[in-house]
Subunit: 372 residues, 2 copies
DNA sequence: GGTGGGGCTTGCAACGTTGCAAACGGCGTG
DNA sequence: CACGCCGTTTGCAACGTTGCAAGCCCCACC
């Protein structure tokens, strides 16, 4: 009697068959089995069929992915690192849009997408999942420069493309990373200039988190200067320049920070901001969900939008029907561009830097300052 | 002089360091390095620190995922197989909702999610990506029973949970798969009964694809009987029973098939259906996007909804503001339940079967039949 | 002082695959 | 008839890690 079929165990435990078992069953060498799957043309049709028959009899469905990538050094997957919980990320329309763009570029290559979990609750703690993900390259989406995830990701020494943040030059981000983003300063400047041109002088800004450990509340000059999140930092700087160019002192502008980018967070921050600076007539929110929260808060206070309060959002991620004046940025294109840059790096090219265009989209949430 | 640091090559090519290189640098054995990372408590604090220092000097950031999973048999990732292009999947609110539920359950375990690409254009062709994905288990989302993807997925012999379709009992789906779904017949029955109770007698149905190779157009009894997609098959059957229970012959009900579940597809199908059966006063759409397309088509024909035409959707996936009467199903919960079932299978339990509840949600798109 | 035990560390082997170069055999040509 | 070439097949080794059992050393106890 022959040895047990399948890579038998001393215990007689039957494991899943491998190339060796198939080879034995087909009466060929393991190399030939490998060839049948990986270079079909180099094998005789007859032999190929014999091997495939043996494989299907044994229930062998192709090489084990782990063994294959150990040996070949390729996994056929791209990793996407999103700062928030996966569940939250799928809630964020901007993130979903970005992922669509990633898919646009990854699908044709038959590359899988690995969404790597990274709790915010675990900021500070070592994130093991990121080191365990079997991927050929990494897409880092809007991380904060001092986030330990950045170090953990970069430590993998994989081809990496950073989206939006940390900006090139931020600590830890090597020259070798690719980068895709927008001109945050210019975009924010356009938003504020729009408000100023409508006659507004008493501005408020609803910011995103300025650092990994930041919490909601008023933002002073010191914490603005210390911001490690390059996206809000750049936008605040652009807003400041535009305000000052219009003769509005930045110290007169109330800046409030939101913990995360969602409607509720924006609503709470708006109440805080308007309590603190009651005369505010225009608000620049650094994301659309936050802007929608601002609109809701305004309604709760009996303020009409845009009659009493003008609001500008950012991203243009909300469905158009929401009538929000906002800064449009090509989110899907961003995902596509980032993925294409990563694919080029996988092919051996250098990491590239891409800055995508933005534009102000005027809808119904802003209006000229009403004569007081 | 010592041998090259790092797993040197004869060519002097410096590769990424592995446990062996770190062990050599720290003057310990590879096993100890492995222990430092995998069982820190079993190693002396002093030795641990020495090893970690050597590791960081060499730029070693932990075990290679491929080698680790080859050796350990675990990948730390769950695969999600969606039939459509990734980009399209992220467009589908129901799919995104489902993925959120998956994340809810996968996040706490620090499991990554691998979204496996599977073009519809490649239906029929062997999908290599599915065999290459390094995952511990598979979630099959709404596949059609005769889809080659089902065979490719099941061939992996991994713990698998099927969502919605193929239903248990469909060809190829083994007893060992877990299953999570709803009672399609009852749900569809509730929708049709609602319309009938409003007095409607001339019904139309906008169906989803009945098989992998189906194309848009009128559906006759034969193709209904031959449907390999268990979701629309079950719903059509439920609709038929409810109609017949109300004394409406199923042959009088126009059934139109949509290629995919989106607004445009629903719009086109509605025009076709109303051209064919002009007297129709109520439409049951098997998904919300299709229902929204029906509403748009109605508007284009000058029909008021619900005045001239009542519409019921399915899923309750559209934002509530859309005012659609629909069948609610707990999509997010579905993702969560499926993932939890998969986790239990990974822990050695049997595959389970879960049927989640649905309910009719009456909003503004249905109304009593207007007196003619 | 000898022996037993416990806590650390290590050697070995195997996880399943594939690239490479060598071996093989058949056929056409000189 | 011999040689050489080409198309196929094969043997070998290594990819990097980790579980296991054995070995080591030191301390405590008798």
């Amino acid at each position: 009697m022959d040895a047990a079929i399948g890579t038998g165990d001393a215990d007689g435990v039957r494991r899943r068959p491998g190339v060796v078992a198939v080879a034995r069953a087909a009466g060929v060498s393991p190399s030939t089995v490998s060839n049948v799957y990986n270079r079909p043309h180099v094998v005789t049709a007859q032999l190929r069929e014999r091997v495939l028959r043996a494989a299907s009899e044994l229930g062998y469905a192709g090489a084990d992915p782990a063994a294959r990538s150990l040996r070949s050094g390729r996994t056929g997957a791209l990793g996407v690192v999103l700062r928030e919980r996966l569940a939250y990320s799928f809630d964020d329309p901007a993130a979903v849009c970005f992922l669509q763009g990633v898919s646009d570029a990854a699908d044709p290559q038959q590359l899988a997408l690995v969404i790597v979990p990274a709790y915010p609750e675990q900021a500070g703690a070592f994130s093991p999942a990121i080191g365990r993900a079997a991927v050929d390259g990494l897409l880092l989406y809007s991380l904060v420069a001092d986030d330990p995830l950045v170090e953990a990701s970069l430590g993998r020494r994989l081809p990496t493309v950073v989206i939006d943040s940390p900006a090139p030059g931020d600590l830890g981000v090597t020259e070798r990373c690719g980068f895709v983003g927008i001109d945050e300063r210019a975009a924010a400047g356009a938003a504020v200039t729009h408000l100023v041109e409508l006659g507004h002088r008493r501005l408020g800004v609803l910011s995103l988190r300025l650092s990994a450990d930041a919490h909601a509340g008023a933002v002073d000059a010191a914490s603005q200067a210390a911001a490690t999140a390059s996206v809000p930092r750049g936008r605040l700087e652009g807003a400041r320049r535009a305000a000052e160019a219009a003769g509005i002192g930045w110290s007169s502008v109330a800046v409030e920070q939101c913990q995360i980018s969602d409607v509720e967070s924006g609503r709470a921050a708006t109440h805080a901001l308007l309590d603190r600076a009651p005369g505010t007539t225009a608000i620049f929110a650094l994301s659309d969900p936050i802007a929608l929260g601002a609109r809701r808060a305004a309604a709760e206070r009996g303020l009409s939008v845009p009659g009493d309060l003008s609001i500008v959002g950012f991203d243009d991620s909300a469905p158009e029907a929401d009538g929000l004046t906002t800064i449009h940025q090509p989110l899907r294109e961003k995902g596509r561009a980032a993925t294409e840059a990563l694919l080029r790096m996988l092919a051996g090219e250098e990491g590239s830097r891409t800055v995508l265009p933005t534009r102000l989209v005027v809808r119904g949430s802003t209006a000229p300052l009403a004569a007081a």
